[in-house]
Each structure stands twice: as structure tokens, then as C-alpha cells.
């Protein structure tokens, strides 16, 4: 608490501190994000064959995402609360539109062609779903009564099922977890929580039987035994393990990634970028990266705890929780302890859409944090 006070004093008196406060930005979060972006550039330089154009494209996306973050940071959290229902409804409507008229990319219907650019509504719903659930629960008793739990669950299930239909397992997991985490923070009873987990586990075989597509089953089977088809379905995960393992405790050094440079590791700059990171920087580097992620998460949770109204804290907690799920699912699949689902390593993987969503989330977090004092006044 003392440290925090000193930081507050520092902010009050320094020019930069005042400027940042006026910009509604949070220094610790910014530092964490900045470190990740540096890492991202280093990794993309290394995996993209030193192609500068690739870095520039990524920088442009970061710029757009950054602007969005600052813009959202200026919005009063009350506005988010007020627009929760319309935003959620638009998101769901777009998901339905995707299923009806969406573009097919890589065998899945995820995109909506808006003429100027292609838009992925499932990204937006990652934020609007927790907004909706938080709005709904904040309007009722905390901890929620059972009828409200049912209502919240419906709000979560609608987008989740729509995304599963695209099909996009990775995003549906993120959306479901973002909504579920709101329920968790709202004080969903432990008994109920455990019962739900057990119930879902019991339903897993049914899901396998009736809802999973062939390639998804393959991914799970491959995850369980990648050596069954080392040149085919298991190739990806085996090559990933080779890259990580060959990195050793200290790594091969920046740009020393023989496995990805010689093209043994597919998707090395997108979903599997962690394998390259682990190959180049070793266990020590991985530890460092995880510490940065944990630092951002800790700061995010601190912001959530400090939040002054129910809606804000539920939303903040959920956004941080989603960020963690990103990290855990991506690293987990790359190191072979989770099945392969399409989840990027947040803020490091090459690609724009997830970055925009993540920055938007951080923008909301900063908004919650920086509008607090004004509310007090």
C-alpha cells in the first residue's frame, strides 16, 4: 500500500505522471504491454526472415489498437454499462450474419466482409459478452440467485454456440470463459461451480459424439498421442516440442531458431510463436515471459479489486481472466499439454484482430482505474 502511495505522489508531481493521468493511462499496465510488444517485434524479426514489411504491418496494427485503447480509456465506465445491451445484441446479430453470409477462410466461416475490411464479430463478442453478463448480474443480488445464474448462462451460451458453429473452438472457449468468469467473480457458489465442472465433464463424451467435427477429434487424438502420425497430424506438435526442447535451459540465442528458420515448424510467427521464443531464449526466457504476463494479470486484478462499482469490477476481473486464458491455452497447446486450438499468444503472435480486442480490453481496464477518483469527487 505504501508503494502505491508513493507512485500516486509521483504521478501527482511529475509532468509525465500528470500527462498520463490526463490521458487516462495506467503506467504499470503500459510498461507490461510495452515489454510484450518489444518481445513481439523481436520474435517477428526472427521468424519472419528479417522482413521489415512484416514488422511495419504489425506496427500499424499496434498503432490502431493503441489508439482504440486510449480512446476506450477515456470513456467513462458508466457508458460501457449503459451500452452493454446494444453492444451485445449487435455482436450476436453479427455472429448470426456470419453464419448466414460470412466469408469462408481456412475452411471456417468467421469473417464478415464489410467492403473496406473484413471483420471478425467473434473478436468483438469476447468483450461484449462479459459486459452483458456483468450488466445483468450487477442489476441483481450479489451473489446471484439461481434464476439469475440461468439468465447469465443463456447470455453466455448464445454467442458460444454460434461461434462453435463457425466452427472456431478456440474463440468459443475464450468467450465462454470470459462470461463464466463474471459469474465466478459475482460469487457463484463453490458447490454450483464444482457441480458445473463435473457436469460438463460428464457431458464431454456426448459432445465428442454429436458436436465435434472430424478435424477437432483428430486434434484431441493427436494431442493424446502425437507420435501416432508423426509426419501428418502429429507433425505440428512434435516439431513444436523439438523446437522448445532443443532450446534447453538458456536457449539458442536470438535468431538462433534453426527449427523455425528451416521451416520445420509451421505457423511459427502466429499461434506457435511461443515455441520459437522457447527455442531462442530457453527456460530462463520463458520464465521471464511468464513473469511479465503474471505482472500484467496481477495489475489487472488489482484494478478490478480497486474498482468502485459492481459492474466495473466484474468486467475488469473478467477481462483479466480472459487474458490469462489466452496465455494459458496458447502456451499449453504449444508445449503439448492442451489440444491444438486456434488461440494466439497474446500481444506477441503476428496478426491484428486479437491484438485489437486485447488492447480494447486494456483500454476498458484503464478506464475503470482512471475514472475512479473522479467518481469519488
Amino acid at each position: 500500500m505504501k508503494v502505491e502511495l508513493r507512485a500516486e505522489q509521483f504521478k501527482e508531481h511529475s509532468l509525465i505522471g500528470r500527462l498520463l493521468r490526463r490521458l487516462h493511462l495506467d503506467i504499470p499496465l503500459l510498461i507490461g504491454l510495452f515489454l510484450l510488444l518489444i518481445m513481439s517485434f523481436m520474435m517477428l524479426y526472427s521468424t519472419g526472415n528479417k522482413e521489415i514489411a512484416l514488422l511495419l504491418r504489425q506496427a500499424a496494427r499496434m498503432g490502431i489498437a493503441g489508439v482504440l485503447m486510449i480512446a476506450l480509456a477515456h470513456v467513462n465506465p458508466r457508458q460501457f454499462q449503459r451500452y452493454s445491451i446494444p453492444l451485445y445484441s449487435i455482436g450476436v446479430a453479427l455472429l448470426v450474419a456470419v453464419l448466414l453470409v460470412g466469408d469462408v477462410g481456412k475452411g471456417a466461416q468467421r469473417w464478415l466482409d464489410l467492403g473496406l475490411f473484413r471483420f471478425q464479430p467473434s473478436e468483438m463478442i469476447k468483450i461484449t459478452t462479459p459486459m452483458m453478463v456483468a450488466w445483468y448480474l450487477a442489476g441483481h443480488d450479489i451473489p446471484p440467485k439461481w434464476q439469475h445464474i440461468v439468465g447469465a448462462t443463456l447470455f453466455i451460451l448464445i454467442p458460444t454456440v454460434l461461434i462453435i458453429r463457425q466452427p472456431d473452438l478456440g474463440t468459443s472457449v475464450l468467450v465462454a470463459s470470459s462470461g463464466a468468469s463474471v459469474l465466478y467473480f459475482a460469487g457463484l457458489s463453490w458447490r454450483f461451480l464444482i457441480a458445473t465442472v463435473l457436469g460438463l465433464s460428464a457431458l464431454a463424451p456426448l459432445y465428442w459424439q454429436f458436436f465435434m467435427r472430424g478435424y477437432q477429434k483428430d486434434r484431441v487424438l493427436t494431442f493424446l498421442n502425437p507420435e501416432a502420425d508423426p509426419m501428418g497430424k502429429g507433425y505440428h506438435i512434435i516439431q513444436s516440442k523439438i523446437a522448445i526442447g532443443s532450446g534447453g535451459p538458456y536457449g539458442k540465442g536470438w535468431q538462433g531458431n534453426t527449427q523455425s528458420q528451416l521451416d520445420f515448424l509451421p505457423e511459427s510467427s502466429t499461434d506457435f510463436i511461443f515455441a520459437v521464443f522457447a527455442e531462442e531464449f530457453g527456460l530462463v526466457g520463458c520464465l521471464g515471459l511468464l513473469v511479465i504476463y503474471l505482472f500484467i494479470i496481477a495489475r489487472g486484478l488489482y484494478i478490478a479489486v480497486q474498482a468502485q462499482d459492481t459492474y466495473s469490477r466484474l468486467l475488469a476481473g473478467s477481462l483479466v481472466c480472459t487474458f490469462f486464458v489466452y496465455v494459458f491455452v496458447n502456451i499449453g497447446m504449444v508445449i503439448g499439454i492442451l489440444p491444438v486450438v486456434g488461440v494466439p499468444l497474446p500481444l506477441i503472435s503476428y496478426g491484428g484482430t486479437s491484438m485489437v480486442t486485447l488492447f480494447a480490453g486494456f483500454g476498458i481496464l484503464m478506464s475503470i482505474h482512471t475514472h475512479k477518483k473522479i467518481l469519488q469527487n
Partner: protein, 615 residues
């Protein structure tokens, strides 16, 4: 206090408490999960580091085999019998092909590849590494190269390579002797050392190419290559060059070989000539023959079928594997057996009425001359090839002594020539008949053995060897083909078998040689026609091997008998008689008479050899 307000504050406190505790629990849970990730990373990067490091190295470093150049085969004078020519081949690296079936189908359309080549490729594919370049078509012509080059970009993993191909400039002339290389088949791949044949696609199949495979092949080299995931080499890390195979100079004289081949004219058969100073094979002709170049790039089913089913049997090596009754060419050896065993001497004579009968038997053993030779002694019996004399001598000698003596001259055994797949012929004996035929030996069989008929079978090379051994008065000749083996600039010592002698009385051998000289040079000799225009003496013996047995009371009439039922014509000879340099054996299948067909062929070879030697 307002109850409602109190309730609100109470709720707010409860909510704060719930939220804080939930956050703390969640963060602890997250730490727990991150610890899980870390422990997995420790497992991979610390405990599994060595394993994965090796896998990474294997991933990117591949060892490519560098094929050696196969040794050249030369004749005695250094004329090339087997060489390596550069040609284009169409090859596929399976690793780089995404859809093999589709690729092959499209290639078939572009280059009209016969299905059999596709099948062969699919079979071969299993035995090579996926990143090896496996040939689909060898020896492409320019049109094919051009056709493919235009479409190359549509066939990833398929490319044209310049490779060395075996070529046999003399084709039919040396087909059996030099042999040929062909595609390594599945069966061979299983037993061959993988390291040596990884880069090679052909192997010696017959003749010298097969027998000296290990020497001609050389040793494959290696290049350590850093490759990308597509198996495309990016960097060469190290290299051990291949060692070319040794060149082999043969004892064959291509001038003589051609003479013999041409002299056989329309006849199928065999000609073998041996250098009596060394045992080297000067001539080794087997006819009908074939073009060995057809086999190098994989012979088509159709061509192979044609060769295989031809009644001339062009693929059959008659010199090493043809087994013929020796006929009268065996007589000099039977006569020598009589002299050495002291059962006859040169002045002992026999009356020949044109047939011979065993005591108390009706069966007449005919002489080739219907009205008989009258009184004949050893010399005239050989000169005129009297059968009755040899019926009588054979009966006196008995099968045991005859068999033992012929055995010393190498009948019924492989000659030990430095080629594989030689047949041993057949030297009958009481023992052989009991074990193989489960029958006792009959006296009549002794008689016909005496004139080289019956069970006895010889290969042309055996006959040449026995003739040479007789010419050298008992010095056993072992035929061979490889004169010199040269690795780079270094000649390799070739091990020759120890010199062997058959114990013979000089006078006895001379009697036989004299008689054989009479065969050629006496006016009554059966081969007197060939004696013109020479200032040295040729010793020879004609022979006729029965293919068709004349029944009792029937006469052999050539005109009546189809070509394929006609007798084989044989001739053995050596010259000069007093200092033999060359021994020849000729078999002209269905040539009827040794004197008219086979003898002139031998004479031509001898004359050419000795005339050149004189100059």
C-alpha cells in the same frame, strides 16, 4: 438507522469480501497453472533437452549419398566394352510431392510413361528414404526433356538430373560375356548394403558386370547437408568424395571375338578360344545374342518377353551354361585314357565293319560310316573318327577308368572361370547313375560314352579347357577373363590358381596330338578342308552331337529332318601343334557336321590369331 440502507451497506461489504476472496483464490489458481506450464517447460528444456537437441539436429542435417563412377571394362587392346555416358533421368523426391498419385498421373500424360515404369517406381519408393531422389524414367531423349522442362513448375518434387548410364558399344557382340547392369530390384535391395546403394540405381546383373560388381562399383561418398523442412539443401557442412570403381582389362580380343561371331553366321552356338600361355579367354561368343543396352534403363515387358520367348534363346549364355553331348570331340581323350591305362597301344588295330555288337547281343551300335572303316589303329581311328574302334576301346577300358580319366581333364566340373553361373556339365559314372538315376550301369552305356554320346554333357568352355590341357601335355588350363584390374593408377594383383599338372606319358600325348594333326592335315582327315594356306599345323577333332536318335533299321537323312532336329556340329582345335598358343572349341547348333560347319570357324579364329602374332 434505516434498515434498507443498512442492508445495502451490508450487501456492499459482503460483495467486497466475496470479490476480494475470489480474486485472491483465482490468482493463486493462476499461479498454480503457470507452475504447471513451467514444470512442463522444465521437462522439455532441461530433462528432454538432449533428446530434442538430437532430434533437431536430425531434422536439419541429412546425409546425401554421392554415387561413385563405375569402372570401365576394356578388352585386351584397351577397346572400351562398357563405359559410362551422361544422360538425363526424370527423378522424384517423394518428400516434396504432396499428392503422389496425381503427380504420377499428370506425368504419365505429359511423357506417356508406360504403367510398368510407374509400378516399378512405386515398388522402389518403399526402399528409399523419403528425401532421396528416385528415378522414374532413365535416359530421356531431348524431346522428353523439353516437354517436361516447360511444365516443370507444375511438378514440385520432380526434376531432371544428369546421370551416368552404362553403355555397351559392342552390344550383341559382348552381351553374355560383359553382361549388363540393370535396375536394382526389390529382392536385391533387401540384401545389399544400404549405404553403398543409396545413391545408385543399377547393379551388375550378368557376366563380368555381375562377377566383378564389387570391384567395378566403387564406394559411395557422402555429403552432409543442412536442409529445410522441404528437404531442400541449404548448406553443405561436409563431404567425403566417392571412390570410383576399378577399371578392368579383359583377356578378350575384340577382333577375334568379332571374327568368331561373324563366322558363326546364321548358326546359334558358341565359340571359345583360350590363350594357352596364360589361360586367358580370347574369344567367348554365345549366339544368338541381344542388345544389353536395353536392360540398362529398365527393359520393357514387351521387349523382355520377346527375348525370353524367342526360340533362338538369345538370353541364354551357351558358353557357360549350354550343355551339349561332346560327340567325337571326346575321342582324343578316350584314346589317351586307353594309352595311359595300358589297355591299348598305338599299333593295336580293330576291324570296323560299320557296326559293333556286344557279345551275345543283337543290338547293332552303328558307325557313322555305313560301310565301315576297315582295319583301323589309334591314329586312323581318330583321323577318320571311327566309332567302332572307340566302342571297342571303351568296353575294354570300362566306365570307371574312363570316368576317372576324363574327370582329370575337367569334364563334369566347373572350369573355375571368373564368371558366375557356370554349369558343370555331366560326366557319367557308375556312382552317378546309381545315386541320380537309381539304376545299375549297363555295358551299352559304356560304348556310347566312348564316342561322346549318351549321358555325357559338356559346356563349350569345358571343352576348350580340356583341349588346352591336352595341347599343353597335361598342364591344366584355368580360363579367366580379368587380365588387369586398375584402381586409379594402381594395378591390383589378381590371384591365379596354383599351376596343376596331370601326370601323362609324353609319348602317349604326342601320339594323340599327331592323330589330331592328321584330322586336319591328312588327306583322309575329317577336317582336311581347313588346312589350306598355313605354314604351321593345327591339331583338331571334329564332332557331331546327336539331338535325334536314329532308330534301329532307320537311316539318318538330313533332308528329311527338320532343322531343329539336326545334329550339333562340334570342333576342337589347338595350334601350332608343336608349340600350342591357342585352343578353340566351337559348337554350331544344328550344324550337322563338325567338319563342314564348325571346323572352318575355329580355323578362322586360329589363323587370325597366329597370323597377327607372326607379324
Amino acid at each position: 438507522m434505516d434498515m434498507r440502507r443498512y442492508q445495502a451497506i451490508k450487501d456492499r461489504l459482503l460483495e467486497n469480501r466475496i470479490f476480494l476472496s475470489r480474486t485472491v483464490i483465482l490468482f493463486v489458481f493462476m499461479l498454480f497453472l503457470v507452475a504447471g506450464l513451467l514444470s512442463r517447460l522444465v521437462y522439455l528444456q532441461v530433462l528432454g533437452h538432449k533428446l530434442y537437441h538430437n532430434m533437431a539436429t536430425n531434422n536439419r542435417i541429412k546425409v546425401a549419398s554421392i554415387p561413385p563412377t563405375r569402372g570401365i571394362i576394356y578388352d585386351k587392346q584397351g577397346r572400351v566394352l562398357a563405359e559410362n555416358l551422361a544422360a538425363y533421368s526424370l527423378e522424384i523426391i517423394p518428400d516434396q510431392v504432396t499428392n503422389m498419385t496425381d503427380t504420377l498421373q499428370r506425368l504419365q500424360v505429359v511423357l506417356s510413361i508406360p504403367q510398368e515404369k510407374i509400378d516399378a517406381f512405386n515398388k522402389q519408393k518403399k526402399h528409399y528414404k523419403h528425401f532421396d531422389s528416385i528415378p522414374l524414367l532413365l535416359q530421356l531423349n531431348e524431346t522428353e526433356v523439353a516437354k517436361f522442362s516447360v511444365l516443370r513448375h507444375t511438378f514440385p518434387g520432380v526434376d531432371i538430373h544428369a546421370r551416368l548410364f552404362r553403355h555397351y558399344p559392342y552390344a550383341e557382340l559382348t552381351a553374355h560375356l560383359v553382361g549388363y547392369v540393370g535396375r536394382i530390384n526389390e529382392r536385391e535391395l533387401k540384401v545389399l548394403p544400404e549405404a553403398e546403394y543409396r545413391s545408385m540405381h543399377t547393379i551388375g546383373k550378368t557376366g563380368v558386370e555381375l562377377s566383378y560388381e564389387n570391384i567395378l562399383r566403387g564406394h559411395a561418398g557422402y555429403a552432409e547437408l543442412e536442409t529445410n523442412a522441404q528437404g531442400k539443401p541449404i548448406n553443405e557442412l561436409g563431404r567425403i568424395d566417392s571412390i570410383p570403381g576399378a577399371d578392368i582389362y579383359l583377356t578378350i580380343d575384340m577382333d577375334l571375338q568379332r571374327t568368331a561371331y561373324d563366322a558363326l553366321a546364321e548358326y546359334n552356338g558358341a565359340v571359345v578360344a583360350l590363350d594357352l600361355d596364360t589361360g586367358g579367354v580370347l574369344v567367348q561368343v554365345s549366339k544368338a545374342s541381344f542388345d544389353p543396352n536395353l536392360f540398362v534403363s529398365g527393359i520393357s515387358y514387351k521387349d523382355y518377353d520377346q527375348l525370353n520367348k524367342s526360340k533362338n534363346k538369345p538370353l541364354f549364355d551357351r558358353v557357360l551354361r549350354g550343355q551339349y553331348p561332346p560327340g567325337s570331340t571326346l575321342k582324343p581323350f578316350i584314346a589317351l585314357a586307353g594309352l595311359e591305362n595300358n589297355v591299348t597301344h598305338r599299333h593295336q588295330s580293330v576291324f570296323c565293319p560299320g557296326y559293333y555288337q556286344l557279345p551275345n547281343k543283337d543290338h547293332k551300335y552303328r558307325d557313322w560310316k555305313k560301310w565301315g572303316h576297315g582295319t583301323v589303329d589309334l591314329d586312323s581311328a581318330i583321323t577318320q573318327s571311327c566309332d567302332v574302334y572307340f566302342y571297342d576301346l571303351a568296353l575294354t577300358l570300362g566306365i570307371d577308368k574312363m570316368s576317372d580319366f576324363l574327370h582329370e581333364f575337367g569334364f563334369g566340373q566347373k572350369t573355375g572361370i571368373d564368371l558366375m553361373s557356370e554349369k558343370s556339365g555331366l560326366l557319367p559314372s557308375r556312382e552317378w547313375k546309381r545315386s541320380q538315376r537309381k539304376q545299375a550301369w549297363f555295358p551299352g552305356e559304356t560304348l556310347i560314352t566312348g564316342i561322346g554320346q549318351g549321358f555325357t554333357q559338356v559346356t563349350p568352355v569345358q571343352l576348350a579347357r580340356a583341349t588346352g590341357t591336352l595341347a599343353k601335355q597335361g598342364q591344366v588350363i584355368t580360363p579367366y577373363l580379368a587380365e588387369r584390374i586398375i584402381y586409379g593408377n594402381r594395378a591390383v594383383e589378381i590371384e591365379r590358381p596354383a599351376q596343376k599338372w596331370i601326370e601323362l606319358k609324353a609319348g602317349n600325348v604326342q601320339d594323340i596330338i599327331n592323330a589330331m594333326v592328321h584330322v586336319v592335315h591328312s588327306p583322309r582327315g575329317t577336317a582336311k578342308k581347313i588346312a589350306e594356306d598355313i605354314d604351321y599345323q593345327i591339331a583338331g577333332k571334329t564332332g557331331t552331337a546327336q539331338v535325334y536318335t536314329v532308330k534301329q533299321n532307320e537311316e539318318y537323312d538330313e533332308a528329311d529332318i527338320e532343322f531343329n532336329m539336326r545334329d550339333h556340329a562340334l570342333f576342337i582345335a589347338f595350334a601350332p601343334a608343336d608349340n600350342p598358343k591357342i585352343a578353340v572349341a566351337v559348337i554350331a547348333e544344328h550344324g550337322s557336321h563338325g567338319s563342314s560347319i564348325a571346323a572352318p570357324i575355329a580355323a578362322e579364329v586360329i589363323k587370325q590369331y597366329l597370323d597377327v602374332g607372326d607379324k
